[in-house]
Symmetry: C2
Subunit: 186 residues, 2 copies
C-alpha cells in the first residue's frame, strides 16, 4: 500500500548505481540505506545462516545467504538473510551460481536494528509476502520477539518458548529463546 | 502464540485488583501497564474518537471510546480507542450503557508511544483479531505509518496518501497524512 509521492529514480536507474556500504534497498520508489549492523544484529544474521545451511546445504535442500540483493516485484531489496530452495537458486549456463538474483527468496529474515523504524523493515517483508515469499521473520532483539509473516500478509508473534515457523521442507526446530540464546557468549 | 511461562494471576484475580493509572492490560497471563500518554499520543487518541463519533453517534451506527477496559478471550485489555457498533454496546436492563465490557471491540486502535515495544502493542491487536475484532490500527507517530490489522491476523502498512481502512458501515475517508496532520496545531 505504500506509495511514494515523487519517485526520483526507476528501478533500472537504481540498479545502475554503485552499491553502498551498508547496502541500500529500493522499494516503493525510494532508496533506503540499511543501518550499519552492530554486534547483536551481525551475530543473529550469521548464526541464522549457519543453522539453516548446516541442515540444508549437504542435502541440497536450500541455501541461506546473508545480505544478498534480490530484485523482484518492482523493488530491489537486501534482506539480512535470504533463503532459497535449492532448485530455485539461479545459475549460469555453466552451472555456477548466478550473480544477479531476480527472484523472490522463499524465506526472508530481517533483524531490527536499534532505532530502526519498523515501517521500513516490515514493508520489505510484506513486499516479499506479496511476491510469493512463503515465510518472513522479523527478529526484534529489543523485546526478544519474532514476528512471523505468512502468505497473504498474515502475521503472528512468537516469544519465549514458542516454536518458530520454518520454511516447509527444512527439518529445523527452534524456539525464540534459542535464537536469542545465540547472543549469550558464555 | 505468546505463552507466559509462569502466570502469576488468573484473569479473575487480575480483575479484582484496583485500576492503575495509566491502565494495565492483562494478556498472556502477564500484567503490563500502559505507558503514560504524552502529547502526540493523547491528541491522536482524542481526535480519532472525535472524528469517528461525529459521524456515527447521531445516527446510532457506532461509538468510539478512549481507554475502555475490554475483557474477552481470556485477557483484559485497554485499547487506546475501542469502537463498538451501536447494537453491540452492552447495556444494563434499564437501557443505560454497562460499566463492564466483556466483549471484543469491533475496531481497536493503538498508538505506539516513544520507547514502547512493538510486541506488546501488536500482541493486543492480534488478540483482538483472533477474537473477532474486524479491524485494528497500530498508529506509529515516529515513522508516520499505520499498520492495519485484519481478520486472520493479516496486516497491511499504510503511509502518506494511502486511504486508511475503516470499519464497514462507517462512512469515513481518511488518509494517513490527514491523521498525522491532526498533530500540526497551526
Amino acid at each position: 500500500m505504500a506509495i511514494a509521492t515523487q519517485p526520483q529514480l526507476t528501478l533500472d536507474e537504481f540498479l545502475k548505481l554503485p552499491e553502498t556500504e551498508p547496502a541500500s534497498d529500493f522499494i516503493n520508489g525510494e532508496i533506503i540505506q540499511k543501518p550499519m549492523p552492530q554486534g547483536q544484529h551481525s551475530l543473529l544474521r550469521s548464526k541464522s545462516c549457519h543453522v539453516i545451511n548446516q541442515l540444508t546445504e549437504s542435502q541440497k535442500i536450500a541455501l541461506a545467504f546473508p545480505e544478498l540483493r534480490c530484485t523482484f516485484g518492482g523493488a530491489s531489496i537486501v534482506p539480512d538473510v535470504s533463503v532459497f530452495r535449492w532448485d530455485r537458486i539461479p545459475k549460469t549456463s555453466s552451472g555456477r551460481i548466478a550473480n544477479r538474483f531476480e527472484i523472490h527468496p522463499d524465506w526472508a529474515i530481517e533483524i531490527l536494528s536499534p532505532d530502526q523504524g519498523l515501517k521500513k523493515v516490515l514493508s520489505k517483508l510484506l513486499h516479499c509476502s506479496r511476491n510469493s515469499t512463503e515465510l518472513g521473520w522479523l527478529i526484534n532483539p529489543e523485546d526478544e520477539s519474532v514476528l512471523g509473516i505468512f502468505p497473504g500478509g498474515r502475521v503472528e508473534l512468537y516469544e519465549g518458548a514458542d516454536k518458530l515457523p520454518i520454511l516447509d521442507g527444512i527439518e529445523l526446530e527452534l524456539t525464540v529463546e534459542q535464537v536469542f540464546g545465540w547472543l549469550s557468549l558464555t
